[in-house]
Symmetry: C2
Subunit: 209 residues, 2 copies
């Protein structure tokens, strides 16, 4: 019987300014690849009309969030626009233990915190919008947003963009299909990275018999 090569699950982080297409890309990646599952963040902010609890976020009260943070139940957590966001640990550890990969839609602060806790497993991708005009256009697209919110988002986008040098990969989302192919390639490639593979030594020994 020949040895079987298995691998450690990896943590794929997608970060980008709001308006770079990250949410769409995440959904399409999850639909296209059955080996990766989404890490669903907990948040204290209000649910938007198009959002579903436990799919888009775990919507929790500020009190409950505080309890979870105090009990060290988060990989990372942060406060953005007076709302709290955090990545619950248990579902991620469970998925990795099953050999599944986990997708994270988090910002640079979350990525920094994840890096400290899971350097080996982490693969980080920063997605840039194709141009300033396109970014502005995409941020104005949400009809329910006030001008003040849009201005805040532009400032936040600039702040987020400044962190691109902290990521392993950088892609420009000028064409959604091309960007999706690039993310799938990164995932496929990182799955073949030697340091993630388990049992290659035994497999190679069988070959050399």
């Amino acid at each position: 019987m020949s040895g079987e090569i298995k691998r450690r699950g990896l943590m794929l982080v997608l970060s980008s300014p709001s308006g770079a297409g990250k949410t769409t890309l995440s959904r399409r990646l999850l639909n296209a690849d059955t080996g990766i599952v989404m890490s669903v963040s907990a948040t204290t902010r209000a649910r938007r009309p198009d959002e579903v609890d436990s799919r888009d976020y775990h919507f929790v009260t500020t009190a409950r969030f505080g309890e979870m943070a105090a009990a060290d139940e988060f990989f990372e957590h942060a406060t953005v626009f007076e709302h709290r966001y955090g990545t619950p640990k248990i579902p991620v550890m469970d998925a990795l233990a099953k050999g599944e990969d986990v997708l994270f839609d988090i910002d640079w602060q979350g990525t920094q915190q994840l890096k400290e806790r899971a350097r080996e497993a982490l693969v980080s991708v920063f997605i840039l919008p194709p141009s300033h005009d396109e970014l502005e256009k995409r941020l104005k697209t949400r009809a329910q947003d006030s001008a003040e919110i849009v201005a805040k988002r532009m400032a936040k986008a600039a702040s987020e963009i400044s962190h691109w040098p902290e990521y392993d990969y950088v892609i420009v989302n000028g064409d959604l299909d091309r960007a999706l192919v690039q993310i799938k390639s990164i995932l496929d490639a990182e799955r073949a990275r030697r340091t993630r593979l388990i049992g290659v030594g035994e497999f190679a020994a069988e070959l050399m018999k």
Copy 2:
């Protein structure tokens, strides 16, 4: 005018024991991807009937090879089965300068030497055959080889296989199409690696204006 993101050319090394399908995979990758060119090695061994000079190898005399080595015209060179093999520097440097990637079909010794000279640009992939039986079968397939040559090749294959831990990626070539997809993914992903990109800072500055 928005800044343009360019990238440094990379050096993609494919190594494997003879009989793991590396030559076929190299040819198919070159056909599928116009952004990568083959590094053609120089060798002192005799041309085989199915080989073409300057496509498969630069076939040179032992004297000429010695002159090239003395003039430091090789990235790496080695002696295998009493024949000399080397990678000429100039075509590689020219291709990289044009932003092209370069594919290397070299063994572990050549890879080690390339690593010392071009650590940043290098991406190394080790290809394993799917099983001992399959490897043996593939090595016996060449009708013109004597039993002695086959035995030598099996020993050399085992020696080559033992170097898999020195590579960035490891793939098992059980299915040629799947292996090709994996190599293409590695190439596509590595092209998006932040450290290879040029001009992201300027591009990001335009976005943040």
